[in-house]
Protein backbone atom coordinates (compact mmCIF):
# COMPACT_ATOMS: atom_id res chain seq x y z
CA UNK A 1 0.00 0.00 0.00
CA UNK A 2 0.98 3.59 -0.48
CA UNK A 3 2.73 5.10 2.50
CA UNK A 4 0.24 7.99 2.57
CA UNK A 5 -2.90 5.79 2.56
CA UNK A 6 -5.37 6.72 5.27
CA UNK A 7 -7.78 3.85 4.59
CA UNK A 8 -7.14 0.37 3.36
CA UNK A 9 -9.63 -2.41 2.65
CA UNK A 10 -8.14 -5.89 2.42
CA UNK A 11 -10.42 -8.48 0.83
CA UNK A 12 -13.48 -7.04 2.48
CA UNK A 13 -16.72 -8.69 1.27
CA UNK A 14 -20.32 -9.16 2.34
CA UNK A 15 -23.05 -11.63 1.41
CA UNK A 16 -26.69 -11.24 2.47
CA UNK A 17 -28.46 -14.59 2.16
CA UNK A 18 -28.19 -15.33 -1.56
CA UNK A 19 -27.10 -11.83 -2.54
CA UNK A 20 -23.43 -11.08 -2.90
CA UNK A 21 -23.67 -7.45 -1.87
CA UNK A 22 -19.94 -6.88 -2.12
CA UNK A 23 -17.32 -9.21 -3.51
CA UNK A 24 -14.06 -9.36 -1.56
CA UNK A 25 -12.57 -5.96 -2.37
CA UNK A 26 -9.16 -4.44 -1.74
CA UNK A 27 -8.66 -0.72 -1.88
CA UNK A 28 -6.36 2.02 -0.63
CA UNK A 29 -7.34 5.65 -0.26
CA UNK A 30 -4.72 8.36 -0.11
CA UNK A 31 -4.84 10.84 2.70
CA UNK A 32 -6.39 14.15 1.63
CA UNK A 33 -7.83 12.80 -1.60
CA UNK A 34 -11.38 13.10 -2.88
CA UNK A 35 -12.58 9.76 -4.22
CA UNK A 36 -15.96 9.36 -5.90
CA UNK A 37 -17.77 6.04 -6.19
CA UNK A 38 -20.40 5.54 -8.89
CA UNK A 39 -22.41 2.48 -9.68
CA UNK A 40 -25.97 1.34 -10.30
CA UNK A 41 -28.43 0.77 -7.50
CA UNK A 42 -27.71 -2.31 -5.41
CA UNK A 43 -24.05 -2.65 -6.38
CA UNK A 44 -22.92 -2.56 -2.76
CA UNK A 45 -21.78 1.03 -2.36
CA UNK A 46 -23.63 1.62 0.89
CA UNK A 47 -22.63 -1.83 2.09
CA UNK A 48 -18.99 -0.88 1.61
CA UNK A 49 -19.51 2.34 3.58
CA UNK A 50 -21.33 0.50 6.36
CA UNK A 51 -18.40 -1.87 6.66
CA UNK A 52 -15.88 0.97 6.78
CA UNK A 53 -17.98 2.80 9.38
CA UNK A 54 -18.18 -0.34 11.51
CA UNK A 55 -21.95 -0.71 11.24
CA UNK A 56 -21.64 -4.01 9.40
CA UNK A 57 -19.15 -6.74 10.07
CA UNK A 58 -17.63 -7.95 6.78
CA UNK A 59 -17.76 -11.66 6.01
CA UNK A 60 -14.01 -11.62 5.76
CA UNK A 61 -11.05 -9.30 5.28
CA UNK A 62 -9.90 -6.32 7.20
CA UNK A 63 -10.48 -2.57 7.37
CA UNK A 64 -7.40 -0.54 8.29
CA UNK A 65 -7.37 3.14 9.17
CA UNK A 66 -4.00 4.85 9.51
CA UNK A 67 -2.60 1.33 9.31
CA UNK A 68 -4.54 0.22 12.40
CA UNK A 69 -7.19 -2.55 12.13
CA UNK A 70 -10.64 -1.10 12.84
CA UNK A 71 -12.85 -3.85 11.40
CA UNK A 72 -16.29 -3.74 13.06
CA UNK A 73 -15.39 -0.79 15.32
CA UNK A 74 -17.37 2.44 15.24
CA UNK A 75 -16.46 6.00 16.17
CA UNK A 76 -13.61 6.67 13.75
CA UNK A 77 -15.14 8.13 10.59
CA UNK A 78 -17.47 10.96 9.65
CA UNK A 79 -20.60 9.68 7.94
CA UNK A 80 -23.33 11.46 6.05
CA UNK A 81 -26.31 10.21 4.07
CA UNK A 82 -28.71 11.51 1.47
CA UNK A 83 -31.22 11.94 4.30
CA UNK A 84 -29.87 14.81 6.34
CA UNK A 85 -30.90 13.07 9.61
CA UNK A 86 -31.10 16.36 11.45
CA UNK A 87 -33.15 15.98 14.62
CA UNK A 88 -36.13 18.33 14.43
CA UNK A 89 -36.10 19.07 18.16
CA UNK A 90 -32.66 20.67 18.19
CA UNK A 91 -31.57 24.02 16.80
CA UNK A 92 -29.02 24.25 14.01
CA UNK A 93 -26.28 24.87 16.58
CA UNK A 94 -27.31 21.90 18.69
CA UNK A 95 -27.60 19.68 15.64
CA UNK A 96 -24.04 20.56 14.67
CA UNK A 97 -22.79 19.52 18.12
CA UNK A 98 -24.92 16.34 18.11
CA UNK A 99 -22.01 13.89 17.94
CA UNK A 100 -20.45 15.38 21.05
CA UNK A 101 -23.77 15.27 22.89
CA UNK A 102 -24.10 11.60 22.02
CA UNK A 103 -20.71 10.71 23.40
CA UNK A 104 -20.24 13.09 26.32
CA UNK A 105 -20.91 16.65 27.38
CA UNK A 106 -21.09 19.51 24.93
CA UNK A 107 -18.84 22.23 26.30
CA UNK A 108 -18.41 25.89 25.49
CA UNK A 109 -15.59 25.16 23.05
CA UNK A 110 -17.78 22.75 21.08
CA UNK A 111 -20.57 25.26 20.85
CA UNK A 112 -18.24 28.02 19.90
CA UNK A 113 -16.72 25.88 17.16
CA UNK A 114 -20.20 25.00 15.87
CA UNK A 115 -21.03 28.68 15.66
CA UNK A 116 -17.77 29.51 13.97
CA UNK A 117 -18.23 26.83 11.32
CA UNK A 118 -21.85 27.83 10.72
CA UNK A 119 -20.89 31.48 10.27
CA UNK A 120 -17.97 30.66 8.06
CA UNK A 121 -20.17 28.67 5.71
CA UNK A 122 -23.10 31.05 5.54
CA UNK A 123 -25.47 29.74 8.21
CA UNK A 124 -24.61 32.21 11.00
CA UNK A 125 -28.10 33.72 10.79
CA UNK A 126 -29.75 30.40 11.43
CA UNK A 127 -27.94 29.12 14.53
CA UNK A 128 -31.05 29.26 16.71
CA UNK A 129 -33.44 28.07 14.00
CA UNK A 130 -34.97 24.63 14.04
CA UNK A 131 -34.20 22.48 10.97
CA UNK A 132 -37.82 22.66 9.80
CA UNK A 133 -37.21 26.32 8.95
CA UNK A 134 -34.40 25.48 6.52
CA UNK A 135 -34.40 24.62 2.84
CA UNK A 136 -33.12 21.25 1.66
CA UNK A 137 -29.74 22.65 0.68
CA UNK A 138 -29.29 24.41 4.01
CA UNK A 139 -30.20 21.24 5.85
CA UNK A 140 -27.57 19.26 3.97
CA UNK A 141 -25.03 21.92 4.80
CA UNK A 142 -25.89 21.63 8.50
CA UNK A 143 -25.62 17.85 8.24
CA UNK A 144 -22.21 18.26 6.69
CA UNK A 145 -21.06 20.67 9.39
CA UNK A 146 -22.21 18.16 12.00
CA UNK A 147 -19.96 15.63 10.25
CA UNK A 148 -17.07 18.11 10.06
CA UNK A 149 -16.96 18.98 13.76
CA UNK A 150 -16.42 15.34 14.69
CA UNK A 151 -12.84 16.04 13.47
CA UNK A 152 -12.63 12.67 11.82
CA UNK A 153 -9.99 12.77 9.07
CA UNK A 154 -12.04 10.45 6.83
CA UNK A 155 -15.51 11.43 5.68
CA UNK A 156 -17.93 8.96 4.08
CA UNK A 157 -20.60 10.79 2.10
CA UNK A 158 -23.34 8.51 0.74
CA UNK A 159 -25.21 10.39 -2.00
CA UNK A 160 -25.34 13.52 0.14
CA UNK A 161 -26.87 15.66 -2.61
CA UNK A 162 -29.14 13.00 -4.12
CA UNK A 163 -32.31 14.69 -2.93
CA UNK A 164 -31.45 18.21 -4.05
CA UNK A 165 -32.50 19.90 -7.28
CA UNK A 166 -29.90 20.47 -9.96
CA UNK A 167 -29.33 24.14 -9.19
CA UNK A 168 -28.90 23.67 -5.44
CA UNK A 169 -26.81 20.63 -6.16
CA UNK A 170 -24.29 22.55 -8.21
CA UNK A 171 -24.04 25.17 -5.48
CA UNK A 172 -23.54 22.47 -2.86
CA UNK A 173 -20.86 20.79 -4.93
CA UNK A 174 -18.91 24.01 -5.18
CA UNK A 175 -19.41 24.64 -1.47
CA UNK A 176 -18.21 21.13 -0.64
CA UNK A 177 -15.05 21.59 -2.66
CA UNK A 178 -14.40 24.83 -0.82
CA UNK A 179 -14.85 23.19 2.59
CA UNK A 180 -12.73 20.23 1.54
CA UNK A 181 -9.94 22.61 0.51
CA UNK A 182 -10.20 24.51 3.82
CA UNK A 183 -10.27 21.50 6.12
CA UNK A 184 -7.99 19.04 4.35
CA UNK A 185 -10.03 15.93 4.98
CA UNK A 186 -10.15 12.73 3.00
CA UNK A 187 -13.52 12.26 1.31
CA UNK A 188 -15.18 9.12 -0.03
CA UNK A 189 -18.22 10.23 -2.00
CA UNK A 190 -20.97 7.95 -3.36
CA UNK A 191 -23.15 9.29 -6.16
CA UNK A 192 -25.38 8.13 -8.99
CA UNK A 193 -24.63 11.26 -10.95
CA UNK A 194 -21.69 10.76 -13.28
CA UNK A 195 -21.26 14.53 -13.78
CA UNK A 196 -21.06 14.99 -10.04
CA UNK A 197 -18.52 12.20 -9.57
CA UNK A 198 -16.20 13.76 -12.13
CA UNK A 199 -16.81 17.34 -11.08
CA UNK A 200 -15.76 16.68 -7.49
CA UNK A 201 -13.13 13.99 -7.46
CA UNK A 202 -9.47 13.18 -7.94
CA UNK A 203 -10.36 9.61 -8.66
CA UNK A 204 -13.53 7.76 -9.62
CA UNK A 205 -14.28 4.15 -8.64
CA UNK A 206 -16.90 2.57 -10.90
CA UNK A 207 -18.80 -0.39 -9.52
CA UNK A 208 -20.96 -3.06 -11.13
CA UNK A 209 -23.79 -4.96 -9.49
CA UNK A 210 -24.43 -8.61 -8.67
CA UNK A 211 -21.88 -9.47 -7.50
CA UNK A 212 -20.96 -5.93 -6.38
CA UNK A 213 -17.37 -5.08 -7.25
CA UNK A 214 -15.11 -2.26 -8.41
CA UNK A 215 -14.72 -2.57 -12.20
CA UNK A 216 -12.73 0.57 -12.89
CA UNK A 217 -10.48 2.97 -11.02
CA UNK A 218 -10.22 6.18 -13.04
CA UNK A 219 -7.83 8.99 -12.21
CA UNK A 220 -9.35 12.38 -12.85
CA UNK A 221 -6.80 14.87 -14.13
CA UNK A 222 -9.15 17.89 -14.33
CA UNK A 223 -7.65 21.07 -12.95
CA UNK A 224 -8.99 22.74 -9.83
CA UNK A 225 -10.77 25.01 -9.04
CA UNK A 226 -13.66 23.68 -11.07
CA UNK A 227 -16.44 25.83 -12.49
CA UNK A 228 -19.52 25.40 -14.65
CA UNK A 229 -17.16 25.38 -17.63
CA UNK A 230 -15.53 22.23 -16.28
CA UNK A 231 -18.71 20.41 -17.28
CA UNK A 232 -18.12 21.12 -20.95
CA UNK A 233 -14.35 20.61 -20.82
CA UNK A 234 -13.29 17.98 -23.43
CA UNK A 235 -11.40 15.98 -20.76
CA UNK A 236 -14.55 15.93 -18.68
CA UNK A 237 -16.62 14.70 -21.62
CA UNK A 238 -14.10 11.95 -22.30
CA UNK A 239 -14.16 10.65 -18.76
CA UNK A 240 -17.93 10.88 -18.75
CA UNK A 241 -18.16 8.82 -21.92
CA UNK A 242 -15.85 6.24 -20.40
CA UNK A 243 -17.93 5.93 -17.24
CA UNK A 244 -21.24 5.97 -19.12
CA UNK A 245 -20.08 3.04 -21.21
CA UNK A 246 -19.00 1.13 -18.13
CA UNK A 247 -22.36 1.73 -16.53
CA UNK A 248 -24.74 1.38 -19.44
CA UNK A 249 -22.89 -0.72 -21.96
CA UNK A 250 -22.17 0.37 -25.54
CA UNK A 251 -25.71 1.05 -26.67
CA UNK A 252 -28.69 0.99 -24.37
Amino acid sequence: MSASAILELRDVGKVFGDTVALEPTSLAIDEGSFVAIVGPSGCGKSTMFNIIAGLLAPDGGEVRLHDQPVTGATGHVGYMLQKDLLVPWRTVEDNITMAKRLTGRVNAADRSEARRVARQYGLGEFLRHYPSALSGGMRQRVAFMRTLVTHQPLLLLDEPFGALDAQTRLEMQQWLLQVWKDTERTVLFITHDVDESIFLSDRVLVMSPRPGRVVADITNPLARPRTVDTLVDPQFVTIKGQIMHLLHGGTP
Binding site: L55, T74, V87, W89, L102, T103, Y130, A133
Partner: protein
Protein backbone atom coordinates in the same frame (compact mmCIF):
# COMPACT_ATOMS: atom_id res chain seq x y z
CA UNK B 1 -37.86 20.20 -5.93
CA UNK B 2 -39.25 23.01 -3.85
CA UNK B 3 -39.70 22.77 -0.10
CA UNK B 4 -43.46 23.03 -0.49
CA UNK B 5 -45.07 19.61 -0.24
CA UNK B 6 -47.62 20.07 -2.94
CA UNK B 7 -46.74 20.74 -6.55
CA UNK B 8 -50.21 21.51 -7.82
CA UNK B 9 -52.28 24.23 -6.19
CA UNK B 10 -54.66 23.76 -3.28
CA UNK B 11 -58.27 24.54 -3.97
CA UNK B 12 -58.63 26.96 -1.09
CA UNK B 13 -55.51 29.11 -0.91
CA UNK B 14 -54.74 30.65 2.46
CA UNK B 15 -53.59 34.27 2.28
CA UNK B 16 -50.34 34.62 4.24
CA UNK B 17 -49.87 33.99 7.94
CA UNK B 18 -52.51 34.93 10.48
CA UNK B 19 -52.32 37.81 12.91
CA UNK B 20 -52.19 37.17 16.67
CA UNK B 21 -55.74 38.48 17.02
CA UNK B 22 -57.05 36.05 14.41
CA UNK B 23 -55.18 33.18 16.02
CA UNK B 24 -56.66 34.04 19.40
CA UNK B 25 -60.13 34.28 17.91
CA UNK B 26 -59.74 30.89 16.28
CA UNK B 27 -58.16 29.07 19.23
CA UNK B 28 -60.15 30.63 22.04
CA UNK B 29 -63.09 32.49 20.55
CA UNK B 30 -64.55 29.68 18.48
CA UNK B 31 -64.42 27.04 21.24
CA UNK B 32 -66.03 29.51 23.63
CA UNK B 33 -68.68 30.25 21.02
CA UNK B 34 -69.43 26.56 20.56
CA UNK B 35 -69.82 26.05 24.31
CA UNK B 36 -72.10 29.08 24.53
CA UNK B 37 -74.20 27.60 21.73
CA UNK B 38 -74.39 24.31 23.62
CA UNK B 39 -75.72 26.08 26.72
CA UNK B 40 -78.18 28.04 24.62
CA UNK B 41 -79.45 24.79 23.12
CA UNK B 42 -79.85 23.28 26.60
CA UNK B 43 -81.73 26.36 27.85
CA UNK B 44 -83.88 26.36 24.74
CA UNK B 45 -84.89 22.71 25.13
CA UNK B 46 -85.71 23.02 28.85
CA UNK B 47 -87.78 26.15 28.30
CA UNK B 48 -89.48 25.09 25.10
CA UNK B 49 -90.57 21.67 26.34
CA UNK B 50 -91.40 22.92 29.86
CA UNK B 51 -89.08 20.29 31.36
CA UNK B 52 -89.75 19.88 35.10
CA UNK B 53 -86.83 20.92 37.31
CA UNK B 54 -86.50 17.40 38.80
CA UNK B 55 -86.05 16.01 35.28
CA UNK B 56 -83.53 18.54 34.03
CA UNK B 57 -82.49 21.93 35.40
CA UNK B 58 -81.77 25.09 33.45
CA UNK B 59 -78.09 25.88 32.88
CA UNK B 60 -78.28 28.77 35.40
CA UNK B 61 -79.60 26.48 38.12
CA UNK B 62 -76.91 23.91 37.45
CA UNK B 63 -74.21 26.57 37.67
CA UNK B 64 -75.74 28.01 40.83
CA UNK B 65 -75.87 24.55 42.39
CA UNK B 66 -72.10 24.52 42.02
CA UNK B 67 -71.24 28.10 42.98
CA UNK B 68 -73.56 28.23 46.00
CA UNK B 69 -72.08 25.03 47.42
CA UNK B 70 -68.56 25.82 46.45
CA UNK B 71 -67.15 25.57 49.97
CA UNK B 72 -68.55 22.03 50.25
CA UNK B 73 -67.60 21.05 46.73
CA UNK B 74 -64.11 22.48 46.65
CA UNK B 75 -62.50 19.81 48.90
CA UNK B 76 -64.32 17.11 46.89
CA UNK B 77 -63.05 18.60 43.65
CA UNK B 78 -59.56 18.64 45.10
CA UNK B 79 -59.97 14.97 45.98
CA UNK B 80 -61.05 14.09 42.46
CA UNK B 81 -58.20 16.13 41.02
CA UNK B 82 -55.75 14.35 43.30
CA UNK B 83 -57.00 10.92 42.22
CA UNK B 84 -56.96 11.98 38.58
CA UNK B 85 -53.45 13.38 38.75
CA UNK B 86 -51.97 10.50 40.74
CA UNK B 87 -53.68 7.97 38.49
CA UNK B 88 -52.58 9.84 35.42
CA UNK B 89 -48.98 9.96 36.56
CA UNK B 90 -48.97 6.27 37.47
CA UNK B 91 -50.71 5.37 34.21
CA UNK B 92 -48.39 7.53 32.13
CA UNK B 93 -45.30 6.12 33.84
CA UNK B 94 -46.57 2.57 33.45
CA UNK B 95 -47.54 3.27 29.84
CA UNK B 96 -44.13 4.69 28.98
CA UNK B 97 -42.34 1.87 30.81
CA UNK B 98 -44.36 -0.84 29.10
CA UNK B 99 -44.00 0.89 25.73
CA UNK B 100 -40.23 1.08 26.08
CA UNK B 101 -39.85 -2.51 27.30
CA UNK B 102 -42.12 -3.84 24.58
CA UNK B 103 -40.25 -1.86 21.93
CA UNK B 104 -36.93 -3.23 23.14
CA UNK B 105 -37.96 -6.86 23.66
CA UNK B 106 -40.03 -7.98 20.67
CA UNK B 107 -40.96 -11.31 22.23
CA UNK B 108 -42.36 -9.61 25.32
CA UNK B 109 -44.26 -7.31 23.02
CA UNK B 110 -46.02 -10.20 21.35
CA UNK B 111 -46.68 -11.85 24.70
CA UNK B 112 -48.00 -8.80 26.52
CA UNK B 113 -49.87 -6.96 23.76
CA UNK B 114 -52.91 -9.29 23.72
CA UNK B 115 -53.23 -8.98 27.50
CA UNK B 116 -53.18 -5.19 27.18
CA UNK B 117 -55.95 -5.21 24.57
CA UNK B 118 -57.84 -7.64 26.81
CA UNK B 119 -57.44 -5.28 29.76
CA UNK B 120 -59.22 -2.55 27.83
CA UNK B 121 -62.08 -4.81 26.75
CA UNK B 122 -62.88 -5.60 30.39
CA UNK B 123 -65.79 -3.34 31.39
CA UNK B 124 -64.07 -1.12 33.92
CA UNK B 125 -67.19 -0.88 36.08
CA UNK B 126 -67.16 -4.66 36.54
CA UNK B 127 -63.62 -4.29 37.77
CA UNK B 128 -64.07 -1.58 40.36
CA UNK B 129 -65.60 -3.68 43.15
CA UNK B 130 -62.99 -6.51 43.09
CA UNK B 131 -60.23 -3.88 43.04
CA UNK B 132 -61.61 -2.23 46.14
CA UNK B 133 -61.80 -5.57 47.92
CA UNK B 134 -58.18 -6.21 47.08
CA UNK B 135 -56.79 -2.72 47.64
CA UNK B 136 -59.02 -1.37 50.39
CA UNK B 137 -60.58 2.03 50.68
CA UNK B 138 -57.61 4.26 50.27
CA UNK B 139 -56.95 6.45 47.29
CA UNK B 140 -55.26 3.41 45.69
CA UNK B 141 -58.20 1.77 43.88
CA UNK B 142 -59.10 5.08 42.24
CA UNK B 143 -55.52 5.58 41.18
CA UNK B 144 -55.47 2.05 39.79
CA UNK B 145 -58.65 2.59 37.79
CA UNK B 146 -57.44 5.90 36.35
CA UNK B 147 -54.07 4.33 35.55
CA UNK B 148 -55.84 1.36 33.94
CA UNK B 149 -57.55 3.77 31.54
CA UNK B 150 -54.56 6.04 30.94
CA UNK B 151 -51.72 3.57 30.40
CA UNK B 152 -53.13 1.92 27.27
CA UNK B 153 -53.08 4.77 24.74
CA UNK B 154 -49.71 5.81 26.15
CA UNK B 155 -48.20 2.34 25.76
CA UNK B 156 -49.56 1.91 22.25
CA UNK B 157 -48.27 5.31 21.13
CA UNK B 158 -44.87 5.03 22.77
CA UNK B 159 -44.41 1.60 21.25
CA UNK B 160 -45.46 2.94 17.88
CA UNK B 161 -43.21 5.97 18.23
CA UNK B 162 -40.15 3.98 19.24
CA UNK B 163 -40.73 1.49 16.44
CA UNK B 164 -40.68 4.28 13.90
CA UNK B 165 -37.50 6.04 14.96
CA UNK B 166 -35.38 6.41 11.84
CA UNK B 167 -32.98 3.45 11.77
CA UNK B 168 -30.47 5.49 9.83
CA UNK B 169 -30.44 8.03 12.63
CA UNK B 170 -29.85 5.25 15.16
CA UNK B 171 -27.02 3.94 13.02
CA UNK B 172 -25.54 7.41 12.73
CA UNK B 173 -25.40 7.53 16.53
CA UNK B 174 -23.55 4.21 16.46
CA UNK B 175 -21.08 5.58 13.92
CA UNK B 176 -20.37 8.40 16.37
CA UNK B 177 -19.66 5.72 18.96
CA UNK B 178 -22.62 6.72 21.18
CA UNK B 179 -23.55 4.35 24.01
CA UNK B 180 -27.04 2.88 23.85
CA UNK B 181 -28.42 4.83 26.79
CA UNK B 182 -27.34 8.15 25.37
CA UNK B 183 -28.92 7.27 22.05
CA UNK B 184 -32.07 6.39 23.94
CA UNK B 185 -32.30 9.69 25.78
CA UNK B 186 -30.96 11.94 23.06
CA UNK B 187 -32.71 10.40 20.08
CA UNK B 188 -35.37 7.80 20.81
CA UNK B 189 -37.14 9.68 23.60
CA UNK B 190 -37.46 13.06 21.84
CA UNK B 191 -38.36 11.34 18.56
CA UNK B 192 -41.30 9.77 20.39
CA UNK B 193 -42.53 13.05 21.89
CA UNK B 194 -45.39 13.61 19.45
CA UNK B 195 -47.04 10.18 19.69
CA UNK B 196 -46.37 10.17 23.45
CA UNK B 197 -48.30 13.39 23.86
CA UNK B 198 -51.12 12.08 21.66
CA UNK B 199 -51.42 9.13 24.02
CA UNK B 200 -51.28 11.38 27.07
CA UNK B 201 -54.00 13.61 25.64
CA UNK B 202 -56.31 10.66 25.04
CA UNK B 203 -55.57 9.40 28.55
CA UNK B 204 -56.20 12.84 30.03
CA UNK B 205 -59.62 13.06 28.39
CA UNK B 206 -60.80 9.85 30.01
CA UNK B 207 -58.90 10.04 33.31
CA UNK B 208 -61.65 11.80 35.25
CA UNK B 209 -64.19 9.18 34.18
CA UNK B 210 -61.92 6.62 35.81
CA UNK B 211 -61.64 8.63 39.00
CA UNK B 212 -65.43 8.96 39.18
CA UNK B 213 -65.96 5.22 38.70
CA UNK B 214 -63.41 4.64 41.44
CA UNK B 215 -65.10 7.12 43.76
CA UNK B 216 -68.42 5.41 43.32
CA UNK B 217 -66.91 2.08 44.30
CA UNK B 218 -64.47 3.14 46.98
CA UNK B 219 -65.55 6.07 49.05
CA UNK B 220 -64.53 7.04 52.51
CA UNK B 221 -67.69 8.99 53.16
CA UNK B 222 -67.36 11.90 50.80
CA UNK B 223 -66.38 12.32 47.19
CA UNK B 224 -67.61 14.19 44.16
CA UNK B 225 -69.20 11.05 42.72
CA UNK B 226 -71.00 10.31 45.96
CA UNK B 227 -72.14 13.90 46.27
CA UNK B 228 -73.69 13.51 42.86
CA UNK B 229 -75.19 10.14 43.73
CA UNK B 230 -76.81 11.62 46.81
CA UNK B 231 -77.99 14.71 44.98
CA UNK B 232 -79.61 12.26 42.59
CA UNK B 233 -81.40 10.47 45.47
CA UNK B 234 -82.45 13.92 46.69
CA UNK B 235 -83.91 14.67 43.25
CA UNK B 236 -81.61 17.66 43.26
CA UNK B 237 -81.05 17.50 39.49
CA UNK B 238 -79.50 20.96 39.44
CA UNK B 239 -76.70 19.58 41.61
CA UNK B 240 -76.50 16.41 39.49
CA UNK B 241 -75.98 18.43 36.31
CA UNK B 242 -73.78 20.87 38.14
CA UNK B 243 -71.44 18.17 39.39
CA UNK B 244 -71.37 16.55 35.95
CA UNK B 245 -70.28 19.91 34.56
CA UNK B 246 -67.69 20.16 37.29
CA UNK B 247 -66.31 16.71 36.46
CA UNK B 248 -66.19 17.63 32.79
CA UNK B 249 -64.38 20.85 33.59
CA UNK B 250 -61.79 18.92 35.61
CA UNK B 251 -61.32 16.55 32.68
CA UNK B 252 -61.00 19.31 30.11
CA UNK B 253 -58.65 21.32 32.33
CA UNK B 254 -56.38 18.34 32.70
CA UNK B 255 -56.52 17.78 28.96
CA UNK B 256 -55.63 21.43 28.33
CA UNK B 257 -52.80 21.21 30.83
CA UNK B 258 -51.35 18.29 28.91
CA UNK B 259 -51.78 20.27 25.68
CA UNK B 260 -49.94 23.11 27.40
CA UNK B 261 -47.17 20.78 28.49
CA UNK B 262 -46.87 19.58 24.93
CA UNK B 263 -46.64 23.11 23.56
CA UNK B 264 -43.96 23.86 26.13
CA UNK B 265 -42.04 20.62 25.68
CA UNK B 266 -42.04 20.53 21.88
CA UNK B 267 -41.33 24.11 20.78
CA UNK B 268 -39.91 22.89 17.46
CA UNK B 269 -43.41 21.90 16.38
CA UNK B 270 -44.57 25.51 16.33
CA UNK B 271 -41.54 27.76 16.18
CA UNK B 272 -38.90 28.33 13.57
CA UNK B 273 -36.44 29.93 16.00
CA UNK B 274 -35.66 28.62 19.49
CA UNK B 275 -36.48 30.80 22.50
CA UNK B 276 -33.53 32.41 24.24
CA UNK B 277 -32.21 30.11 26.89
CA UNK B 278 -31.18 30.85 30.44
CA UNK B 279 -27.79 29.24 30.03
CA UNK B 280 -25.64 32.21 29.02
CA UNK B 281 -22.31 31.68 30.69
CA UNK B 282 -20.78 29.82 27.80
CA UNK B 283 -22.01 32.32 25.22
CA UNK B 284 -18.86 34.41 25.45
CA UNK B 285 -18.48 34.62 21.68
CA UNK B 286 -22.15 35.48 21.13
CA UNK B 287 -22.85 38.29 18.67
CA UNK B 288 -23.22 41.61 20.52
CA UNK B 289 -26.81 42.45 21.40
CA UNK B 290 -28.58 44.25 18.60
Amino acid sequence: MSTRETTTPRRAGRAGTDSVARKLARNVGVPVLSIVLLFALWQGIVVYFHVAPYIAPRPRQAVLAVTQNWSTLWPLVLGTIRETVYGFIVGAALGIGLGVIMAKVPFLQRLVYPVLVLSQAVPIIALAAPLVLILGFSVTPKVVIVAWIVFFPVTVNVLDGLSHVDQDLMNLARVYGAPRWRTFFQIEIPATATPLFSGLKIGATYAVTGAIIGELAASDGSSLALYQEHANTNLNTAAVYGTTMLMTVIGISWFLLVVGAEVFATPWQRRTVARRRWRRADRSDEEPAR
